[in-house]
Symmetry: C2
Subunit: 243 residues, 2 copies
DNA sequence: CGTAGTTTTGATGTCAGTCAAAATGTGTGG
DNA sequence: CCACACATTTTGACTGACATCAAAACTACG
């Protein structure tokens, strides 16, 4: 298992991507004091459940996670995926209850950040407050991108956007931005993109055939990043826009 | 013109819905000191433009607004609508630049809240910091609802959801939740819902024919709120969900 | 009352969903 | 290591909801 699971903020290699970003050394230490390490989670293990009282936010230390909203009829809808350094549970800040559930897609670890302590610390460390605002702003901006994606893009453009999203985030983490494994099932991808698994499968097969990517099961290699980006722009849109 | 345009926080009837919600009288006064009143905006006047440096957030005092993201090809995509008491510009907290543009749908007024001053005040007033978190959490949660809507709902359910969203928000403002005017054009509704104006028109006509609503141009009356809610749940979904 | 913008209505086309079955992968016990 | 069961993914044929194209009806404003 990744030894990262038990490292504290000052020694964590995610320090520049996670909550402590931009803080001074002693400020990071203060933050580290309120952060609790949680035991690792296994695949399909729930981190928190929709409706539960939210007393902490969670940062991904390793592995990846999927958050989803359950409908009354027992169906569920994937809202997003989380990679290391990203903060989960932000949607619960409104009422203090989680408005979605989050599950581990693979073995992984998280840091628990108690909200009360975090708020206290924000009042003391201006940089931390700024950083929290930045993270919240990022979450909102990225949700807007998802709204754009789902509202107006054709299946092929959705698939391309999804791959580019992962590519960018893996790249930022220091991993390869062109070769990576999908930690989620086709079903999860389809649900996230507002498509069926058959359509996801077909789009991936087509991109593979065209040589833009090479895909074999969970393994993905992007052969032509520029072409993939071009697809997002030039793909015939499902719903045309104004002007 | 609405005299509300020039009232300050302590005298504003939105005090319970807007940023000052939950603060003590003297705290509201402190907040009022940093809030600047802006001159009223006319229909189609831009409040801020995507890419501009963001130094302030804006609260809707009166009227309504539409925010949208412009694509490279000149098309635009509506991200959301804002009614009185709601805070605009939150997506800019990430980089300090607006990631969307916002335009007035009718004559309206806004309060300008300088970000630097707001951050200073948040450090001093714990309740304000909490309230900011709550507002940001609400924005994120409501964006998740939009993702759900666009990813998985049929045209009829989208239309019904849109009407219910407005109904609820107008109700919270003290207006009628069953009779209201749409301040946006069909084009804006269509773009927001990821549909074409023809489909929006047809769905509204059908709901009208069924007697669920009475619609005449911009004027809408909801005749059967429960039936409208039932439509959202039971409408055949465009993309079926897991399980 | 005329022009331009917006909304509605109608006829037709297509992308992605649905249904069905085959292919591939994964895990378990003998 | 193999055999079997089960889950996941792929492929194929067909269908339907919504987009597209086109034109008429309605509004608004000078």
């Amino acid at each position: 298992m990744d030894t990262l699971a038990w490292t504290s903020c000052p020694d964590c290699r995610l320090v520049g991507l996670c909550l402590p970003h931009g803080l001074h050394t002693n400020e990071v230490k203060q933050l580290a004091r309120i952060v609790k390490n949680k035991r690792p989670l296994q695949t399909d293990e729930l981190l928190y459940v929709q409706g539960d009282e939210c007393q902490s936010l969670y940062a991904v230390k390793s592995g990846s996670f999927r958050s989803f909203i359950a409908n009354k009829d027992g169906t569920e809808q994937t809202i997003g995926f989380y990679l290391p350094g990203e903060l989960m549970g932000l949607d619960s800040l409104q009422y203090g209850r989680f408005s979605c559930s989050t599950v581990a897609l693979e073995t992984g670890a998280v840091c628990e950040v108690p909200l009360l302590r975090l708020n206290e610390l924000c009042a003391k460390i201006p940089g931390l407050q700024t950083q929290m605002m930045r993270i919240l702003g990022k979450e909102i901006a990225s949700d807007h991108d998802k709204i754009l994606l789902l509202g107006h893009r054709a299946a092929k453009a959705r698939m391309a956007t999804f791959l580019l999203m992962l590519s960018k985030r893996y790249g930022a983490l220091g991993f390869s931005s062109t070769v990576f494994n999908l930690s989620m099932r086709r079903q999860d991808i389809a649900n996230f993109l507002g498509l069926t698994i058959e359509t996801v499968s077909r789009q991936l097969a087509e991109l593979n055939k065209q040589g833009v990517i090479t895909v074999k099961q969970r393994g993905v290699q992007i052969n032509d990043l520029e072409l993939l980006k071009a697809l997002v722009e030039h793909c015939p849109v499902q719903t045309p826009c104004v002007k």
